[in-house]
Symmetry: C2
């Protein structure tokens, strides 16, 4: 762990000069540059980020908060964040939000002490408490969730995406489309999606049919049961998460329904889970990785704030035309 002074001594210059060379700040000759570089290599010198951060009151750290570390959707976004961060010479600090906002503010306070260049909040809206905990210096941005325009965010238009997903099912001739909704508390993501579904159904004069899970695989089973009980002749299911979509595919097949021949299933988000069923799940895709990348670019000031990214309907194997007869 050589210090800048040791490098300076070895190169026969002052620490200030080494600093200039390292940071590419003008003010040294070519010869000096070479001698300094040589000394750096010989000593294996690496600038101490702690000292640098202290001096400049800014570290090359980027905070990320995810609802759960092992969440598939969050992992995809995190993946984009990580690569963009690395590209711009930043390292990533990761924390878990959990259900409530308490852990988040806690973690934000911890983060602040490291003077990060910014913080990305995944699937979590920015509350005034959080904003306060982070201090005024640190830019925050939320991803995959949209709220007013007071805070920066990167997301899709959930209402529109769900509307178009439903529309695609309707256009394929489906009328009896069951909705597998997510948690009621998800006011900024699930609620808009539900509204999109209802709007499309209403426009088509079809009757909405909704049951609620919590977006996870297991939660879909009872909701599915209720859906089928209310209408055994459903020809399509729109699940507001890929996990619930995967559950619908598996459960339908278990009951002897062919997918998509007897029942179409449409998922949401385009997480890797969508590829873990057979046939692979059609889904309303969010560009998760690019969203993560864009978030760090915005934080780093390379882009404007508050962007809506385009969603995309990906037709894989689980959606098809309405069956000629009700199974």
């Amino acid at each position: 762990m050589a210090t800048i002074r040791e490098v300076a001594a070895r190169a026969g210059v002052s620490a200030a000069t080494v600093s200039r060379v390292v940071n590419g700040v003008p003010g040294f000759s070519e010869g000096t540059r070479e001698r300094v570089k040589a000394a750096i290599d010989e000593l294996g010198y690496e600038p101490d980020s702690l000292a640098r951060g202290l001096k400049t009151s800014q570290s090359a750290l980027l905070g990320v908060l995810a609802p759960a570390v092992s969440d598939a959707l969050a992992s995809q976004i995190l993946s984009g964040v990580e690569s963009a961060a690395r590209e711009s010479g930043h390292a990533v600090m990761l924390g878990r939000t959990g259900a409530g906002a308490e852990l988040a503010t806690d973690y934000l306070r911890t983060l602040r002490a490291y003077r990060p260049a910014g913080v990305v909040l995944i699937s979590s809206a920015i509350t005034p408490d959080m904003r306060r905990a982070a201090g005024s210096r640190i830019p925050l941005i939320s991803v995959a969730i949209r709220k007013g325009s007071e805070f920066a965010s990167i997301a899709i238009d959930d209402e529109l995406a769900a509307y178009e997903g439903t529309k695609a099912l309707l256009d394929a001739g489906h009328r009896r489309i069951g909705l597998l909704a997510g948690d009621e508390s998800s006011v900024l993501v699930n609620k808009p999606r539900e509204r999109g579904y209802r709007r499309a159904m209403a426009e088509a004069g079809a009757t909405p049919l909704e049951e609620r899970g919590n977006s996870l695989y297991e939660s879909a089973l009872p909701a599915l049961e209720r859906l089928w009980r209310r209408d055994p002749g459903l020809t399509a299911i729109f699940a507001l998460s890929d996990e619930m979509g995967a559950a619908a595919v598996n459960e339908a097949q278990r009951r002897g329904l062919r997918v998509p021949d007897d029942l179409s299933v449409l998922g949401f988000d385009d997480t890797p889970t969508s590829r873990h069923v057979h046939p692979p799940l059609s889904t309303v895709a969010q560009p998760l990785v690019p969203m993560g990348e864009l978030a760090v670019r915005v934080l780093l000031g390379e882009h404007g704030r508050n962007r809506i990214l385009p969603h995309r309907l990906i037709t894989r194997g689980t959606t098809g035309p309405v069956p000629a007869y009700s199974p």
Copy 2:
């Protein structure tokens, strides 16, 4: 962003005293403690981690390296790491290893500059290069991979686990058990598992039948195809990853085989993927979350090094007795 001096001024004491109170270092009276605490609350003071780390040459950061940020197995381990880290007052820095060891050494160099309390390497052995890049100060530990005993690690006994998994299939009467192996380059994880399979098969006088994927879902399809071509009468498939196991379940059902009535499938690792098929996948479980937790405890010096954790056979819905007749 109040500093320690501002707190000191407000409490009418010196910065040194505030520091003592904050760190619980003896040398202050009860009255002083109260006044300092009050000043801290009033100013919303939070010690600057950068300055503290610089002074103590040790930050409360824990590095984690994962092969891919969105890897399901790594996510589980990461989840354990995060919770143990938080519990001990540490924050987590996350980086991606990628395929080669180059990114890893790169990242370790970056990490070193933050003087972390330790680094956890997920599914990646510690090479001398890495050891060097990290510097001699920083303890490293690898998780879910085992190598000699020169470096600390937390893992299961892969050979034994695969042996017992195979044995369970054999005990259920299966003889024609196909192996879905992982990448050949995985010398420290997949190879031992293959050996365990072969040993069990040999002991039972059964003929091993192996095809290779790369542990991911898609890679299993062609391998499966080859397996069935070599023996259309297979009664069981042992997949050395849950993703490949899930693929086997889906593909078998697609071909009209009932699982587990016609074909048993056993996975490996116990990632969430195992619950995303129907019936849910039986699997040879690694205690991934506890492994992550233990890794940070070992790094922090609360436990010994080099631990082998117990694996566990989890029988869910995809394994059963050998069918009476060959389908």
